[in-house]
Symmetry: C3
Subunit: 158 residues, 3 copies
Amino acid sequence: MEKKKLSLIVFSGDFDRAVAAFTLATGAAAVNWEVTLFFTFWGLNLIKKNKGHAAIGRGVLDRFFNFLLGGRNNLPLSRLNFGGLSPRLMTGMMRGRNVATLAELIAAAHELKVKFVACEMAMNILGIKRGDLIDEVQEVIGVPTFLQYSQDAQVMFI
Amino acid sequence: MEKKKLSLIVFSGDFDRAVAAFTLATGAAAVNWEVTLFFTFWGLNLIKKNKGHAAIGRGVLDRFFNFLLGGRNNLPLSRLNFGGLSPRLMTGMMRGRNVATLAELIAAAHELKVKFVACEMAMNILGIKRGDLIDEVQEVIGVPTFLQYSQDAQVMFI
Amino acid sequence: MEKKKLSLIVFSGDFDRAVAAFTLATGAAAVNWEVTLFFTFWGLNLIKKNKGHAAIGRGVLDRFFNFLLGGRNNLPLSRLNFGGLSPRLMTGMMRGRNVATLAELIAAAHELKVKFVACEMAMNILGIKRGDLIDEVQEVIGVPTFLQYSQDAQVMFI
């Protein structure tokens, strides 16, 4: 039997949507699906290295955007953000219940052979370079390549 | 011919996205598709019983979250919320044009044999118990079971 | 070999999500996929003619909504909107890097034979008439017809 495939376009950089994406990815990989995460736009924020964010970007507008966006440790919730309070609350709730946190989900996804790819065009728009991204990212690709990888896959936009 | 299948991950608790999800679900069920709605994160809010919301949740953080989230009768719009004014406006507009409201869409979906399932992990994170959910919910499942149910289905994340 | 198909439900009217939708659509069409864009709810805003927006809509509530929503030239970002500043910044960044802007993406999509269809029910709710939409829109359809068009397609909700 052919291997089942799941491809997620991770567009959102919101904490809760990121958790949903990684939960789907690891859940599918755990039952032996071939999973690809295609990070684009704000989703690129999830796979940036944790260096000073203001240092990322080629021009001043890029720097401004990237500074405002921050990094993996201060993602907003899509709702009820309260100046950054809620993600911390939610991480606490997750930890209290033995549910994995985002950093753990990233590690688990990598361990389970989930493929991390980044969107070339969005990197170009936002002025993000390959070196700004974590090492787990295997490729920088465009839409046609993503579509090719996702042939016969379940595809979702998050 | 095999029956067509549609599976929607209802992540959002926004009024407009909920309307979109139920419209897709009932539209598909009406032409004889097999439809599953998988409610997760804020989407769980759509299928909570209408008791006092502050009473739902196992701990104080849960209660806080659930209180803030409210219930089915005060969902925000993803845009133009104006302190809760717009959903009421929109319901009025829907009613004036004989378009079903959310409560009617839930009833219609149930009538059309749309399957309601809830995400185990999100319930765990948010401290929601089976008894907090409406009776139309048939099962509480994890991601692998959802993926299995959604084999050969059109899947969307809302 | 059968032609590959991509169907996107364009629910969001946010600038960044619109760019993502058109980028996917044109990327797929460029490698010869059959692409359908189904505009619904706020997404209808992307395909409205640029006449005075307050003039669109059948009743006073419609006018109010449509006035608030504005048109294609003042779409908000889903994040970091800053009173309309960011879309202009982003357009500037896109232009500086030779990435197509939204108007160019719409033209490119049309050129590449991407099919534009509009959601009948959402038009009904929001009081938008056929004449309010740009000429590139080929049909006004309901969910069952959209599902039929999207048979064997990759479907995403944006």
